[in-house]
Amino acid sequence: MTRNRLVGVILVLVGLLVWLLLWEPNGAGGGGERHAPLDLAARPGGGDFTLDSASGPVSLADLRGRVVLLYFGYTWCPDICPTNLAFISQALRELPPEEGARVQVLFVSVDPERDDPQRLADYTAYFHPSILGLTGTPQRIAETARLYGAAYRRNQGTDSAMGYLVDHSAYTYVIDPDGRLVRTLDHATPPPEIRAVIRGLLAEEQVG
């Protein structure tokens, strides 16, 4: 009697387990209202892209041999982007010059409406003269963001006097000298850590 009940309980538990293993959250299939750039789950692999700077087109493919730090933001961004750019710049300044020359920081605008190449150049130069500000058509920016899993969304519905804001992910994508996305740094990663990541990759390159 009790044994039967125990077997019953076990069967029910096994059934539950199977159901849990097979169950998929219903959001996975039909998240229609979400924007494509929001798809963070896609496990981005990185890849080459070409965007425009004030001094002409810049292709990731032309930056082989350098460690590339890629950041998506916008110049009106009052706090998040300046913090990351300030920390990245500080890391750059603390590198020996010969190593600094083998690093390229790219700041890609997710606000092409307000950021033109010249504005981006003025903005990035304020933080460090070697940083390149990049923009392009909304489509090309979206494609680049998708490659790296950067998410952004223009937020119209704010009551702020700023007008629209752009919500965006604040990761720094680290690309090795072979053009591979090897690391993602969190928002406000401290300069010494950024510097250590850069130096590690440059040292590997030397060995390899």
């Binding site: 998040i80 003025d122 903005y123 702020s160 006097a161």
Partner: protein
Amino acid sequence: MMRASSLVAAALLMGLSLGVRAGEVTLGDPYARAVPPGQPNSAVFMTLRNTSAQDLALVEAQSPAAEVVELHTHVQEEGMMRMRRLDRIELRAGETVKLEPGGLHLMLIGLQQRLEPGESVELTLIYDDGSEARIQAPVRKIQMHH
């Protein structure tokens, strides 16, 4: 008649006693973020400590350095940093609230002056009891000291 005048007296008394409350908020290290030329917006950070026995809230800020000053915060959602406007920043009795990069801040919108290190920004903080505090926030570049 009596009633009206006592109401006025009560209001005056309240005004007076409440007016002191801004003085019961201790401000720590206020600063405005230096921004690149042409940048229309910036942010002000500080520590606010409510030393009084009553809850208080910061509800408004004004500055001659900007067209508009708003209370803002950042929230991290869906992997994104999202800035949101707030109606008030609560300062519970005895509590310390930090306005810092990546979190709560006073947003300077439509800058009227260049924010360069060495300069400072004048601000008026207005609390929910109507009391005000005037402060000077020096302009600083964000740097990590280590």
